[in-house]
Assembly symmetry: C2
Homo-oligomer: 310 residues x 2
């Protein structure tokens, strides 16, 4: 017996990834294409999924893992929309509604980072955990995750890249590049921030360049904030910048130094190598998260955003 597949759209600021399948070991179709205008890009995604419906039979549901900010409040008139993004043309795009109307199936919808966290919990580095953080450090810095078994939502959703961290201007006079906040975490430590500070792409910086110690410092300061604020069981760090493996040991050491034995959990003090880890699902975590969101959309009562207390 073949299980009815789900569709997934990972809507990224630079590219879209679409999948049909049920999980990482059962991907029946996949495509990726650059993000251009919302009309054209959305149509490409929906055309791909429609064609797969024709070929494979109906999808059980579709899950959308979207760049943000997005409106996740089910009682809001703009639920399912990308809201105030500075990305030209993409503000107020009703991405979830468009997919539901075009495909005639239930739609799950969340941030790209929450979706990636859900995929990591189901199939990857978050298995067995009820509370963990998923961070992506790339073109931007974003964070999501599960707290006590539920995806992080709240008033809107977290914007973890925009916390302020200590910035020693004597050691690092770079002012930061966030158009909203200057030297917030994203302004100091995203890929474009590294590029602007050192005048070359992060991936070209040699391993002995001081850029990496500074980058690890800012990320460790942020991780300490997340440990003190969210008390996660694990922090998964993905994204382009984190593809430099040398960062992990640097970050782990600084997190321990900064916490200075204050939070006395063996998971931190004795098992830091399994507390701060890369994603197990690699660059597919977001799109696989779309499949997980789709699966949850057909089991609607399990979706946290539809429970009675919201």
């Amino acid at each position: 017996m073949v299980t009815q597949p789900f569709g997934a759209i990972e809507a990224g600021g630079t590219k879209f990834v679409c999948l049909v399948g049920t999980g990482p070991d059962d991907i029946r179709a996949e495509t990726r294409f650059p993000t251009t205008s919302p009309e054209r890009t959305l149509q490409q995604a929906l055309d791909f999924l429609s064609a797969e419906q024709d070929r494979q039979g109906p999808l059980a549901a579709v899950g959308i893992a979207s760049f943000g900010p997005v409106d996740l409040r089910p009682d809001s008139p703009t639920y399912g929309q990308i809201t105030s993004t500075p990305k030209p043309g993409w503000a107020n795009v009703a991405i979830a509604g468009a997919a539901g109307a075009a495909l005639g199936v239930p739609v799950g919808f969340d941030t790209d980072v929450n979706a990636a966290a859900l995929a990591e919990q189901r199939w990857g580095a978050g298995r067995g955990l009820h509370s963990f953080v998923y961070l992506t450090i790339g073109t931007g810095i974003g964070g999501g995750g599960l707290l006590d078994g539920k995806l992080t939502h709240g008033l809107v959703h977290p914007e973890m890249g925009h916390i302020r961290v200590p910035h020693d201007l004597a050691a690092d006079p770079f002012p930061g590049i966030c158009p909203f906040h200057g030297d917030c975490l994203e302004g100091l430590a995203s890929g474009p921030a590294m590029h602007a500070r050192w005048r070359q792409p992060a991936e070209d910086l040699p391993e002995d360049h001081p850029a990496w110690a500074l980058e690890a410092r800012y990320l460790a300061l942020a991780l300490v904030t997340f440990v003190c604020t969210l008390s996660p069981q694990r922090i998964i760090m993905g994204g382009g910048v984190m593809s430099k493996p040398l960062l992990f040991p640097l970050i782990r050491r600084q997190v321990l130094e900064l916490l200075n034995n204050y939070v006395r959990a063996p998971e931190l003090l004795q098992q830091i190598d399994s507390f701060i880890v890369p994603p197990a699902l690699g660059h597919r975590a977001g799109a696989l998260g779309g499949l997980a969101l789709a699966a949850d959309a057909v089991r609607a009562p399990l979706r946290s955003e539809l429970t009675a207390d919201r």
Copy 2:
């Protein structure tokens, strides 16, 4: 008909408060006494509640709102204990177990700030909310709250006072007083930090003293971090330092300036006066939280720490 009452112990680092009742409008007995040795102080609390049991009939349950760090993991051999506190004599005190054994009733147990948040949700400034933060700014700085309807736990529990915030040493050369972290939030902005920096108690500083603008600055930086990390619907700020009403407008203005319209929720942009608020239950929030924890302990399946996913 008289409802069977609950007992509550607010175990603070400087004083204990014990209540018997069912809520803020039904407090049938109350006592407070200074925190000395754990043997003596715990005995005083249990003697008070035992005597009330003799007088009023059996308590339905007892709730303990404790200073920390505490062990909240029900599957842990040290569940219900104060763990690594630097407070002399109080490390590894099994406060929840002692109360259960002495009184023979179910025991609810959580951090003082989580308990205060629960009380504010039930009877105060958190009514109708599923996600909010409760902060106390006093002898220390602590934070708890509810996220998606559940008290914040995670790996251990949040230690929000120990996040790092930007510290401009040129403007504020004070090095901070946290024995673990120096200039973390608590090290810079707790009551004792203000006292050490300005060489006089915070409550004696006149309203036009520059201390208050600096204090508001650090607290606003922290609130921005909590907004970006937890996405709360409201932030309730209590504790001795916050009893200076002038702080609220200063903090609100700086939070808006620091966020710079990035998080576009009307609750923030148009209703900041009801987004950052004092507790409605005042200095009794913690002890009333003990009553709320007790009520939840008799409805055990509702206690998040006993659900299957933990």
